[in-house]
Amino acid sequence: MSYKVLIVDDSKLARMSVTKLLRALQPDWSPIEAANAEEAVAALVGGRPDVVLVDFNMPGKDGLTLAAEIHATHPNVPVAVISANIQTEIVSRARAVGATFLSKPLTEQALGDFLSSAKAQLSSA
């Protein structure tokens, strides 16, 4: 089964690097990119992604707020918040909004683990 992954990050380089890791880990899955929360909301409607990866520190609406909204409107979509800010408050807020916390720089191992559990969650739904 091939899934669509929405990658939300204001940094183009960060989106490129997540896409690169995604291709290595799950070559059949397809990336959708959004540069901010508004684009992400539009992509949720238009692109119907199965999994969402959100950067925390973005201009405008931050990734935790967006993750909370996605979790409320799309409870079956696995969401991960990716953040260079690794303070305990951020990690626990990510968990509180139902998201997985992944630290930046993102490693293949960490993303791989998240995608595997997302895959398991999606196939059992």
């Binding site: 380089l13 520190n57 260079a84 408050e89």
Partner: protein
């Protein structure tokens, strides 16, 4: 000159540098958080190449009073100066946050210089170290030095007139959730240092992305 300056780093290179600063400051904030036991709030970093005068104006947009800066030089594969800047009026509160609430005011004043140096050292080294690691380069970092003055005095740094006029100005502000402390991190690099940095950023971009993916999109 304006055009020349803005061409030093293209959009993707500036983007890469912002990401590195984000990583560095994220690490530094986690260190600071442990010291002050309070969440450190961070802004989205902005990266611009400006003149020193413009950099000073950027600080003045946020701060009009006297400032304190902890200043460190870095040299080696990457060269420049990093400053942790905050309003002088905030400095005692920061020292108090770092030393804990039990220290009497007199002692805080005595401890002040030392606590500021140590705080600056931890934040700036956390930031520079992460950037160096990601670029796979090492640098030497000087001992912290404390300066006081307005923004243009802090940015001109006394005898350093030999530095080129264009500087890379990284601007990120941080504040403590529970205390009236806010500050900025600025990094200054001259033109030759910026050119070396650009080459390292290109290698970094190459490592982080697929070449087939390198379509140029304005962000």
């Amino acid at each position: 000159m304006e055009q020349h300056r803005s061409q030093i780093l293209n959009d993707l290179e500036r983007d890469a540098l912002s990401e590195l600063v984000n990583l560095g400051v994220g690490k530094a904030a986690a260190n600071l958080r442990e010291m002050v036991k309070d969440e450190v709030l961070l802004s989205v970093p902005s990266v611009t190449v400006v003149s020193r005068a413009e950099a000073s104006l950027l600080i003045n947009e946020h701060e009009t009073g006297r400032l304190v800066a902890i200043h460190q030089r870095f040299s080696g594969d990457l060269k420049g100066r990093a400053l942790l800047i905050f309003p002088e009026a905030n400095s005692l509160e920061l020292v108090r946050a770092v030393t804990g609430g039990d220290v009497p005011l007199d002692d805080i004043v005595d401890l002040g210089q030392e606590a500021l140096s140590e705080t600056g050292n931890i934040i700036l080294n956390g930031c520079l170290g992460t950037i160096g690691n990601m670029l796979r380069r090492t640098m030497q970092v000087s001992l912290p030095e404390i300066m006081r003055g307005n923004s243009s005095e802090l940015l001109s740094l006394g005898g350093d007139q030999g530095y080129g006029e264009a500087v890379l100005f990284l601007f990120i502000n941080f504040s403590l959730r529970e205390r009236a402390v806010r500050g900025y991190i600025a990094m200054l690099m001259d033109l030759p240092a910026l050119t070396s940095l650009r080459d390292l950023l290109r290698q970094y971009i190459h490592r982080m992305s697929d070449e087939t993916d390198s379509i140029h999109v304005e962000s």
